[in-house]
């Protein structure tokens, strides 16, 4: 019985770690840069396909973190500077900007996915890496999933401490609270918001890479992760980075428990949770 419970809990944490990482990225993009980025899943796809592509050249997926992360960061940063900065400065209000930026991100979804389809096709891709069991308290788990969880937690914590302990992190938090005042205090808002969007994209890239270690991947995988991410971000509290981190693990655990009891209901459980949250606590766990 204890082994069974351990099985369910650790399986949930393994999945939750990936959800947490993805959701932190979107939370940053929405919480600070005010972009509800529907194309977030496409950056996950880029990270995953990038790792798969590099693996073909013999590059260890963990080494690929150092390539895929910066590449997705640069793409995100440039997109914000070119597309979203223009939308922000030309919008009459923050509400109008949120609406137009969300529509723009819809467009980005199709553009990025189509480019990937042209480059890599739509076929299923994957590779095997650290695909052997590890005994944890009598329960067996895949080595690659444990590595993915360790990296997800590590990256999440590094990111969190970057936000709370560094000067740049303080500027980001200031921009999240009140961009206009932060600008008056000498924070280069355009630069900081682009940085946030780029960092969000980088987190998605990292998560995509870790997903590719555990799951088959393809160029149309992005949207399903975007949907899960939105649920996690709402669960954690819109814009709350720690909330997203915790929300990811909670959703992973719920998914694992429901899968054990009745696998057919696992996705339905996510949506039921989403509905309940919107009814009972629309601000999420740590939202204000």
């Amino acid at each position: 019985m204890i082994v069974e419970i351990l099985d369910i809990v650790i399986a949930g944490l393994l999945l939750g770690g990936l959800y947490a990482l993805i959701a932190m990225g979107l939370s940053l993009q929405y919480g600070v840069a005010r972009v509800l980025n529907i194309s977030h899943g496409e950056f996950i796809m880029l990270g995953a396909l990038g790792a798969w592509f590099l693996f073909g050249f013999g590059v260890n997926p963990l080494v690929s973190l150092a390539i895929c992360g910066p590449v997705t960061f640069i793409i995100g940063f440039l997109l914000y500077r070119t597309v979203f900065t223009r939308l922000r400065t030309s919008s009459a209000s923050i509400g109008a900007y949120e609406g137009s930026s969300m529509l723009a991100s819809f467009g980005l979804l199709f553009i990025i996915q189509s480019i990937a389809l042209i480059a890599w096709g739509s076929g299923i891709k994957g590779y095997t890496y650290l695909a052997f069991p590890v005994n944890v308290g009598g329960a067996l788990f895949a080595a690659n999933r444990l590595v993915a969880l360790a990296f997800a937690v590590f990256l999440g914590l590094v990111f969190y401490f970057f936000l709370v302990r560094t000067r740049l992190g303080k500027a980001i938090r200031a921009a999240a609270q009140d961009p206009a005042t932060a600008g008056l205090m000498g924070v280069n808002i355009n630069q900081v918001l682009a940085l946030c969007f780029g960092l969000g994209a980088m987190m998605a890239g990292f998560a995509g890479l870790l997903i590719s270690i555990c799951y088959p991947v393809n160029t149309t995988m992005g949207l399903e992760y975007t949907i899960i991410t939105i649920i996690v971000v709402v669960l954690g509290g819109l814009g709350s980075i720690p909330g997203s981190f915790i929300g990811g693990f909670i959703l992973g655990l719920i998914g694992s428990i429901v899968t054990y009891l009745e696998p057919g209901l696992s996705l339905a459980a996510y949506y039921v949770l989403f509905m309940l949250l919107l009814l009972v606590r629309p601000t999420g766990i740590l939202g204000k």
Binding site: D7, T128, T259
Partner: protein, 417 residues
């Protein structure tokens, strides 16, 4: 004078008007056959459509057109095929709208199929309503079989659960002394059909189903279910789901060291990308199959043609030969009917037997006759997807014996792309 000119002029106008109207109402000379399709060029079904029917129809059309087209006696010439393909974005609602657009607005000469079991269900009544032949590609038809009498324009090319894969799989297991099986099936029409047929065919042969779990198509973690299967010590694990879940089940079985004596996964195992992902670890894994290069010289020629200069991931040892045979059959039916009239061609398709890459091929009651099949079950052996089981008919060509129990997963699994 004016009167003298007026009357001939009036007559000339009438004659010209008659000639003009005759010209516009006469059908223009036919110079091509327009084929319309609603296909999942994007969205979650794209990965299946692009690996399954797409390479076949692209190669088939190119080959037919290189020969000048299909000879149609009615026009006394060969007509090349022109494809009109719309992206249904993997959405059934969009697919049905596009199908009606192809028929009503584009007025295509022929309708080729959408992708997936559920889409056959949705598209067949539309095609039938407008009397368009629908020769399907990807998708099984267990549930639609009882309706085939009321869908005379529907022709199913692919083999499926009780036509005749699961009975053959059950025979293979029973011959080797397997007593128990655990089933993971996808929660959609495909999974329902296969799990339902398995629940009938396996117990008939003394194989007890010790567990059955239905999972959503986009499930992200199968480890708890696989561990449950492992505890039952079932001889066979059957993963009756689409490729994502089949690959996930394979990965996670390796990762938790779960080694059933027989592992059947499908669709997914039959594709080259499965071997490209797992390499030698695929040894002994079974899936649905029709043929390989050893089946016949004609089959070798087909696979060489389809897979020339293409990566291994493009291979499909189950659907490709059947889709090709189906459309070879269709071409011959048009030539035999000598017209593009759907009803006349349909009547030929119902009545005739033509030689295709499978050998003598015919449709019985809307299904490609199981006697036309060259195999049903395949198994990866030394990098080849061998046909290890088929029906007891003349076309059947088993290329290697069924290996049972399958070798254990390599530990640790080799890194392989």
């Amino acid at each position: 004078m004016k009167k003298k000119v007026f009357l001939p002029l009036l007559m000339a106008i009438f004659v010209l008007m008659f000639l003009f109207s005759a010209t516009v109402t006469t059908a223009p000379a036919k110079d091509k056959i327009v084929v319309g399709m609603s296909r999942p060029l994007s969205g979650p079904m794209a990965k299946i459509g692009d690996s399954a029917f797409r390479p076949v129809y692209e190669t088939f059309v190119a080959e037919v057109n290189a020969q000048g087209g299909i000879f149609v006696k009615e026009f006394n010439k060969k007509l090349p095929i022109e494809l009109k393909v719309y992206d249904d974005k993997s959405d059934t609602g969009t697919m049905t709208r596009l199908t009606e657009k192809l028929i009503l607005e584009d007025k295509v000469d022929f309708l080729w199929p959408a992708c997936g079991t559920h889409n056959i269900f949705a598209q067949a009544p539309i095609a039938n309503k407008y009397s368009y032949i629908l020769l399907t590609a990807e998708g099984g038809a267990t549930s639609i079989t009882p309706m085939l009498q009321s869908l005379p324009y529907l022709f199913i090319s692919l083999s499926f659960s009780d036509w005749y894969q699961i009975p053959v799989w059950a025979d293979l297991l029973a011959e080797k002394g397997a007593k128990t099986a655990y089933i993971i099936s996808m929660a959609d029409l495909f999974g329902i059909e296969y799990a339902g047929v398995s629940s009938i065919e396996l117990p008939k042969r003394g194989i007890n189903i010790v567990g059955i779990k239905s999972v959503p198509p986009d499930i992200k973690d199968l480890s708890t279910i696989l561990k449950e299967a492992q505890k039952t010590k079932a001889d066979a694990l059957m993963v009756l789901a689409y490729p994502d879940a089949v690959i996930l089940a394979t990965k996670q079985s390796m990762e938790i060291g779960y080694n059933p004596k027989a592992f059947l996964g499908g669709p997914g195992v039959n594709f080259g990308f499965y071997h490209a992902i797992f390499g030698p670890a695929t040894e002994g894994v079974s899936g649905f199959s029709m043929a390989n290069r050893k089946t016949s010289p004609a089959m070798k020629e087909l696979f060489d043609k389809l897979y020339k200069n293409k990566p291994e991931a493009a291979n499909d040892w189950w659907g490709h030969p059947l889709y090709w045979a189906g459309y070879e059959f269709w071409k011959q039916a048009i030539e035999k009917a000598g017209t593009l009239d759907q009803k006349k061609i349909k009547d030929v398709m119902v009545a005739e037997t033509f030689n295709t890459v499978l050998g003598p091929t015919s449709f019985k009651g809307g299904l490609m006759a199981k006697e036309s099949h060259t195999g049903e079950i395949g198994q990866w052996q030394k990098g080849l997807f061998e046909t290890v089981g088929g029906g007891k008919w003349p076309n059947t060509k088993v290329t290697a014996p069924f290996v049972y129990p399958k070798p254990k997963w390599p530990v640790p699994a080799p890194a392989k792309k």
